[in-house]
């Protein structure tokens, strides 16, 4: 038995409206530069995971992992390399964490810039989240403890001998930390999606739940960036500006600083 004719084909028997509808959604190819942008985000996330794993101090690097890291480092794009260097100059990196640091389902990805895809929300009806005041309890995040320059003191871990690039080999690490990272990543992704869909209150509600669940977050910078962006979207400009300035002052070399500078410097 052979396959039937496709509805879009002349012999498929589809009527004009059916073919029009199917034609309208036929092309779902990624936009120009989506591939490189996605790679930048993935590399950034894996670099962040590497920081977490090193801070957990339960990481081992096997020889195959080292070889994989070297290969990954050499194929990294200049943008990715720059991102990794900028992000990791002030962090502890005793070893490189491999893929298992990102627990199954870990989902938050660091974006260097917004993707080129766009969506119109004019034809969507967004049902707002349950009303409450999520902004009252979102305190600024204290700088995470990992911002200790490597080799800066006798107690600080030595600087890594290999580039802090993604590895695709599993490594041992604290399972509790990995689970917490997965939860935080999931919730940050949810918050970001709500912010993008035009629901900053919904985003703040998620961030509030994240704060309750993880008072000392691993991805604290990311949480603070999203909070500031949501506050700005809500029109709470003074609060957003104050927190953006504090963030830029605390993390001048953070890759997030670029996103927040326009809020911090807005007159």
């Amino acid at each position: 038995m052979t396959d039937p004719e496709r509805l879009l084909s002349a012999a498929g028997g589809g009527d004009e409206l059916e073919r029009e509808l199917l034609s309208s959604i036929r092309d779902v190819s990624p936009p120009y530069r989506a591939k490189s942008q996605a790679w930048d985000g993935i590399a950034g996330h894996l670099a962040a995971a590497a920081v977490v794993g090193a801070a957990g101090a339960h990481v081992a690097m096997s020889a195959p992992a080292g070889a994989a890291v070297k290969e990954a480092a050499t194929v990294a794009t200049p943008v990715v390399s720059g991102l990794l260097r900028a992000f990791t100059t002030k962090v502890v990196l005793g070893t490189v964490v491999a893929g298992s640091t990102v627990a199954a389902g870990a989902s938050w990805v660091h974006h260097q810039q917004r993707p080129t895809v766009s969506t119109s929300v004019s034809d969507r009806k967004v049902v707002p989240a349950a009303t409450h005041n999520p902004t009252a309890v979102l305190a600024p995040v204290n700088p995470p403890a990992v911002d200790v320059p490597c080799g800066s003191t006798l107690d600080a871990p030595p600087c890594p001998k290999v580039a802090d690039a993604p590895s695709n080999r599993a490594a041992k690490q604290d399972p509790g930390q990995a689970r917490l990272l997965a939860i935080e990543s999931e919730m940050l992704t949810d918050a970001r999606a709500q912010l993008r869909s035009g629901d900053p209150r919904g985003a703040l509600a998620v961030l509030e739940r994240l704060q309750v669940r993880s008072p000392k977050p691993i991805l604290g910078q990311e949480r603070e960036v999203l909070t500031i962006q949501a506050l700005s979207a809500l029109g709470q400009n003074e609060t957003a500006k104050r927190r953006a300035k504090a963030f830029v002052a605390a993390y001048p070399n953070s890759p997030h600083t670029t996103q927040l500078r326009h809020i911090a410097e807005d007159p």
Binding site: M1, D3, P4, R6, L7, L8, D15, L17, E18, L21, L22, S24, I25, V28, S29, P30, A34, K35, Q37, A38, W39, G41, I42, H45, L46, A68, E71, A72, V75, G99, S100, V102, A103, A104, G105, A106, S107, V109, P115, V117, S118, T119, S120, S122, D123, R124, K125, V127, A129, P166, N168, R169, A170, T189, D190, R192, A193, R196, S197, G202
Partner: protein, 181 residues
């Protein structure tokens, strides 16, 4: 002797388009596809070393996409966004002064996605892979690890639902045009 698992970057380069398109076909909105695509590849990065090659890599990747898309559709933020027929008609009236081609194309896409979202997921997957990705029944069966007979059965049911919904849409549009006259 088992060959070494494919390198992550090589998998990324070879399958990025496939993952992106798969997520879109599985109902992920355009605005969210970048995030979901990255999540898929982070999962791939995590689990690639454990891929034993018992299935095609493409099948394995598609399975990850299916689970991601399924979780995505269940998430609260996606459930709260409702694309209603009223909103679509409002959009149509608002766009009457704009370039008809762009507005009509956008409206058609919205309606098409709305109709496809009414299909049960197993049927939707087969329908879009066959009708829009031009995959053969055999390829779909291999991808989804089901029989060709199951592929054809799901396709038939999906087509019935699709055609029924398109007829309903045609009736609504016809009623709308009569009101406008």
């Amino acid at each position: 002797m088992m060959s070494s698992p494919p390198e992550f970057r090589a998998v990324y380069e070879a399958y990025f388009d496939f993952v992106w398109r798969s997520l879109r076909r599985l109902g992920v909105r355009e605005a969210d596809t970048m995030d979901l695509t990255q999540r898929v590849f982070l999962t791939v990065h995590l689990r690639l070393a454990d891929f034993e090659g018992r299935s095609l890599l493409r099948t394995w990747l598609f399975g990850i996409c299916q689970r991601m898309a399924s979780d995505y559709r269940r998430s609260a933020s996606v459930r709260r966004e409702i694309v209603t027929e009223t909103a679509e008609l409002d959009s149509q009236r608002a766009d009457e002064d704009g370039p008809l081609t762009i507005a009509e194309s956008r409206q058609r896409a919205i309606r098409a996605e709305s109709i496809l979202s009414k299909l049960p997921e197993p049927q939707r997957v087969v329908f879009v892979l066959f009708e829009l990705e031009d995959m053969s029944g055999d390829d779909i069966a291999a991808l989804l690890d089901i029989s060709v007979g199951t592929v054809r059965s799901r396709l038939r049911l999906a087509r019935e639902t699709f055609r029924r919904e398109v007829k309903r849409l045609a009736a609504i549009e016809s009623a709308g045009r009569r009101e406008a006259v």
